[in-house]
Symmetry: C2
Subunit: 109 residues, 2 copies
Amino acid sequence: MNTTSLDAALYAVADPTRRRIVERLMRGPARVTDLADPFSMSLNGVSKHLKVLESAGLLRRTCEGREHRLSLRHQPIRRIQAWSNQFERFWTDRLDALAAQLEKEKENE
Amino acid sequence: MNTTSLDAALYAVADPTRRRIVERLMRGPARVTDLADPFSMSLNGVSKHLKVLESAGLLRRTCEGREHRLSLRHQPIRRIQAWSNQFERFWTDRLDALAAQLEKEKENE
DNA sequence: TATATATTCAACCGTCTGGTTGAATATTAG
DNA sequence: CTAATATTCAACCAGACGGTTGAATATATA
């Protein structure tokens, strides 16, 4: 597992404001002002959050005149998916072991 | 999406040390000292990390005499899975749109 | 009982965080 | 040219973070 980039992705997405921004961007690209609109926070505050998301690779920024258009990049979230999916086998193995254990106890009665 | 607990889970797991601990615990439960062993860090440091993981619900702690046995809980990681899987449809939709777009351009030639 | 082991608590420290405000930059509109 | 809009930069702040050290607690062992 690539540690450093996963660190940044998880960290970026651990903040509720940033996560709301990411979720918002699922519905398509948006400008800084649009993204800032739902929050009772200064535009600068949001701008800083965007910088965090961007440097973690979650956002693509294209400048069109004075407006910046932000859109989602999938790689970092895919990394998070991959990391959390890694545990799937662990859970099922444990459930299997538990089932086997119960089976065994049943036989011994 | 339950924001608060997802916050805690993502935050807990964003730290590389804590993530290594969680990955270690996939291979079965362990004591505090065991978990601290691979790290060049004071035992207290690790103890604090464990507290973070525990309060985020990622760890179950059972005290056996003077030893504390830590094991993994699956719910928080499942929440992370659920959150990141949410984007799956978004990516595929976007790919579909892209494919449709290409198809259209091809027809117009 | 005395001692070693396992673990936490408490205080401290430099650094990073999330947020603010005010000024700067760049582009568009009147 | 001037004014409005979109955005960032820079400096600041209180609080949290990741880590340390030293002492305290609780259990096991000789």
